[in-house]
Amino acid sequence: MKGASQNPTERGLALYRSMARIRAFEDAAEEASKGGVSAFGAALSQDVMVRGPLHLSTGQEAVPAGVCANLFRTDMITSTHRGHGHTLAKGASMEKMMCELFGRATGFNGGKGGSMHIADFSVGMLGANGVVAAGIPIAVGAAHAVRIRSGKEIVACFFGDGAINRGPFLEGLNWAAIHKLPLLFVCEDNRWSATTATSAMTAGPGALARAQSVGVDGLAVDGNDVFAVDAAAGSLLATIRAGGGPKFLHAVTYRFKGHVSVDPATYRDGQEVARALENDPMPFAEAKIGAIEAKRIRDEAHAEVKRVVEVATAAPWPKSDSAYTDIQDTGAGRWLA
């Protein structure tokens, strides 16, 4: 989150810390989710901590870390089904997120949403989304609201490479450009859409060209280089904040894990995966900030996540009555007779 020192060393450490916390969180969540999804016809184990499809952003940490380092707390973001990294990087509590994944009353969503709907409005995180590309129009609306009340906030909208083939991508970018909304579109390109190589399903010169064709200019960046992401996002956001209208950031990275945590991802070529693992954004950043500091930060992150898992494990379950709240004020109720 912005407000971190602009001192280059401190900024580097802050970026690395942001990434390390995401990595530690994802590893712990992955562990806690084993057996927790009934995709691919597998049965669901009853005593698993994290139930349901868990989409890990392991390997992609540099994108949220680099982008959100340029956002103020009052700025807003929208996210995807793979939203833990965005949420943490935006400054949300790791503990409340883990509690949510564990389905506890103390989670951000009181257990109502889980990983795919994780949200923390207190830091402007307007929600993960289970529907590919659905966050785009929502981000457009949030940015439009800012414009209407002459606010100073900007909105960052994260989505995957698969999302650029859905209609709302076109509609949302066009809308943002017409109204010159304060909006950064971030295409987090991990090269896969579930079990499908996105390249095979995507025609034309790429995400940035598509954005430009509807009047949204931007930059392409190595999404595994957190410093490059930071710099690119910083320059685009400076333009946006100065009233330059929406911009686009295309960040190429890689999904280290399967589509969901229990997916062995056997459909991927071993060499491709091996090459991608060599581009792990963590050691890359470590090389710049030094091994000693990096280890200290990682250890802190591990300690934090360990504590957080303990808290989440001990946290109370939501009361079943709460299943009936937060639906609507007019016409609420169970309506069972």
């Binding site: 439009h144 949302g172 609507q328």
Partner: protein
């Protein structure tokens, strides 16, 4: 009190809401020129393009942006032109607008009004003539409103904007020109209106069918059948108490709606009353056919006062 048509009545309700609360904005295709039914006439001139927003033909994003605006604190009134085109925004309505508040555990609310004129529109055929209130009533999180008069279109629009929930607001495509007296009295969501008292049969209906139902009830009077007529007005939450109360008194319930009868909202009402009271129930609705273009075909899809009268008399 003023004599306004159904479109003007809504427009004045919206104008009042926009005057009272700067968070209320209106957006949709062609709203800057007053909307294709005149239901936004004059608003651009009064509130400017920041609050009366013309949009591209992008239904998904019109509705999705409305959700984002609402989460960011505005109260958008969004135009889908007709309910048939709202089908292009169904993810945004059902997966986003209706569920966001719940999924996020109460963080954020999606107070918006999605106007989507419904019903048969003369000579407009199958893609411009649907009535889908039953769909929206089935979706947790949504409020569903179907005003049948200028006064109700004025008052219910104001109430819908005020309520803070996502409201599916179903004006009828053939009521725009209908005139009536419009006053400033409030109209509450969830309350049916008793249009006619009777003791032999309770007739529940809404939207454009109210007129034909009243006509049929009048005619039934002349042959000695006393029909009570309720205009439901709000489809969700429906006024269960009023309907049960009346049905208990008359012992017979007839639900009448323009929507296709099969799996229409009449089924919910009839089933509920049959379950709860064990009284006799009947439903009259549209046949399960798309609406045809040619007049004789379109007529088959419409409900008439004569058809309703027949249903009343056949209900012994």
């Amino acid at each position: 009190m003023a004599r306004l048509n159904y479109a003007q009545a809504a427009c004045s309700g919206l104008e009042q809401a926009m005057t009272a609360d700067p968070r209320v904005i209106a957006m949709g295709e062609d709203v800057g020129r007053g909307g294709i039914f005149g239901q936004y006439r004059g608003l651009l001139q009064k509130f400017g393009p920041q609050r009366v927003i013309d949009t591209p033909i992008s239904e998904s994003t019109i509705m999705g942006a409305a959700v984002g605006m609402a989460l960011a604190g505005l109260k958008p009134v969004v135009e889908m032109r007709v309910v048939d085109f709202a089908l292009c925004a169904m993810d945004e309505i059902v997966n986003q607008a209706a569920k966001a508040r719940y999924m996020f555990g109460g963080q954020g609310r999606v107070g918006l009004v999605a106007r989507m004129p419904g019903g048969i529109w003369s000579g407009s055929a199958a893609q411009h003539s649907q009535s889908l209130e039953a769909w929206f009533a089935h979706i947790p999180g949504l409020v569903v409103v179907a005003p049948g008069t200028p006064q109700d279109n004025h008052g219910l629009l104001a109430a819908s904007i005020a309520c803070g929930d996502p409201v599916i607001y179903l004006e009828h495509k053939e009521l725009w020109g209908v005139e009536g007296e419009v006053g400033s009295e409030k109209v509450e969501l969830g309350k049916a209106k008793l249009l006619r008292s009777g003791k032999d049969l309770t007739l529940v209906t809404w939207s454009r069918t109210v007129g034909a139902a009243l006509e049929a009830a009048q005619k039934a009077e002349s042959i000695g059948r006393s029909v009570e007529v309720l205009d439901l007005r709000t489809i969700w939450p429906w006024d269960r108490d009023a309907v049960l109360d009346s049905s208990r008194r008359t012992g017979r319930l007839l639900v009448v709606h323009e929507a296709v009868r099969s799996a229409g909202f009449g089924a919910e009402i009839a089933a509920e009353v049959a379950e709860t009271l064990g009284v006799r129930v009947k439903r009259l609705g549209g046949p399960r056919i798309p609406v045809g273009y040619s007049r004789p075909l379109e007529e088959e899809a419409r409900l008439s006062a004569a058809g309703i009268f027949e249903a009343i008399t056949a209900f012994q």
